[in-house]
């Protein structure tokens, strides 16, 4: 069972940053089909700022500090829709970890993800089915919650697989929020960019955890 201390979360977020940036062009292409083609760029700008923020953390940061620094990075550098959404999401993650020395159980991660989800939903006001990142996040959290008490690595992996499938399934949804909503029926058939980057992040978390164990 990998124990993720604050310093591990720092490394984890650097890993996430690399995985997101590696998919910049793919995410832009998805956004370009129905949006304005910048989602990969916005996420890359945010994640580059996260990496700089991780560099600037004090030695042995707390889990809370690491997540809060990521929130601040998004707040300052990103803008767009996605900036405030991840800002509040990371801030909620920080709060959920307040006082915790490490995040090592499935229930720790359910708490983190759920806090992030709630913050995003509260700020953005989207409903499930609106073709947003909530649509890949929600089933992943449900999956993870169903695995409480089980092995962290395999649970995070199953949640990530669920997220990826759900992201792909956004193809069938008709968008109601954000830029793509203006396209209504024309957006059907296109996979949502934000749901996809969310799945990439969840996959990255799972892969990182897997590496810590070995």
């Amino acid at each position: 069972m990998p124990t993720l201390t604050g310093d591990s979360v720092r490394l984890l977020l650097e890993q996430v940053a690399i995985d997101v940036e590696s998919n910049k062009d793919f995410l832009c292409d998805l956004d370009g089909e129905v949006g304005d083609g910048d989602h990969g760029v916005s996420m890359t700008i945010g994640m580059r700022a996260v990496r700089r923020a991780m560099d600037d953390l004090p030695p042995d940061p707390s889990v809370e500090q690491a997540f809060q620094a990521a929130s601040d990075a998004y707040a300052i550098e990103v803008g767009a829709t996605i900036g405030p959404l991840y800002e509040v999401a990371f801030a909620a993650a920080a709060e959920a970890c307040s006082g915790k020395a490490d995040v090592s159980s499935v229930s720790d991660w359910v708490q983190i993800y759920q806090a992030m989800f709630d913050a995003i939903q509260q700020l953005g006001g989207a409903e499930l089915g609106d073709k947003t990142l909530l649509d890949s996040f929600h089933p992943a959290i449900e999956k993870l919650a169903s695995l409480e008490g089980e092995d962290l690595v395999s649970s995070l992996e199953q949640a990530a697989v669920t997220a990826r499938g759900a992201a792909e399934a956004t193809k069938d949804l008709k968008p109601m929020k954000g830029r793509a909503s203006r396209l209504a029926d024309r957006a059907v058939g296109h996979q949502d960019a934000g749901a996809t980057s969310l799945a990439i992040i969840l996959e990255s978390v799972a892969a990182f955890a897997a590496n810590v164990r070995s």
Partner: protein
Amino acid sequence: MKKLINDPFDMVEEMVDGFLSANDDIVKRVGRRSIARVTSPIDGKVGIVVGGGSGHLPAFAGYVGQGMADGAAFGNVFASPPARPVVEATTAVDSGAGVLYLYGNYAGDCLNFDKAQDQCREMGMDVRTVVLNDDVASAPIDQADRRRGIGGLFWVFRITGAKAEQMASLDEVFEIATRANANTRTVGVGLTSCTVPANGRPTFHLEEDEMELGLGIHGEPGIKRQKVAPVDDIVEAMMDMILGDLDYSGSEVALSVNGLGGTPAEELYVVYRKAKEICDANGLRVRHKNVGEMVTALEMAGASISLVRLDDEMSALLDSTVNTCMYKKP
């Protein structure tokens, strides 16, 4: 992608540097991504703060100066600025008379400007907002609050800025912005995609004989893809949408033809010719006009037509002197 840039991730930074250097007679830097008039805050004057993603120049920073805006916040390309630069600009322009935010209706801008507004109010500033939504093509009239803001922003900035320049109160400035916005309609047409620099590939693809009607200013697909046609037919379709959306009959109007970035001025004048003809045929008196680039989408080829139903006050305000970074009139 061929662009006159260095690292695409440095482009906005370097653009802001160049913009400030080229316009240092009119604006000063107040943050990494925020500017204000050199004279800000102006005693007793309501401050107008505008902003949005980069890639739309002259919108938004280009309109800071006498007769339009007092401050602006720069976002990344096609991405709303975060709250911080908006707060910086607000702080820099607030003389105590209050500040009005004007920006186009996009989810990102609403989120970030609202957050800035909250923060500034907490600091004791009197801040209000009018969200602009002139784009007829982006939603039906009964869902006008879902319409986005495009080329008509120019006129609302201009009318509101002129009012604020007369030392009107925040209530008055808010009211005229609301009125100007309610009386402004725009329809756009795109012929080519643009390329977000840090993406490097065109946002979408149009065939050699295709155009997109109702296109926005971010390269988002429009409402209808169709074969290119003689421009007179295109302008007729655009004007039909505009005239069908608001009752302009017998009014004085302001008419503008806005280039999206890649279309030469020669073509914009050909568009203007037909749009003016249609106004004349409908008995509308074109009292104010503008042809050129007002709200662009990087290097996208295409144009938008905006029509404002004027009243006497708005019309008179448009006669005033304007001296911003990128729009000037003696």
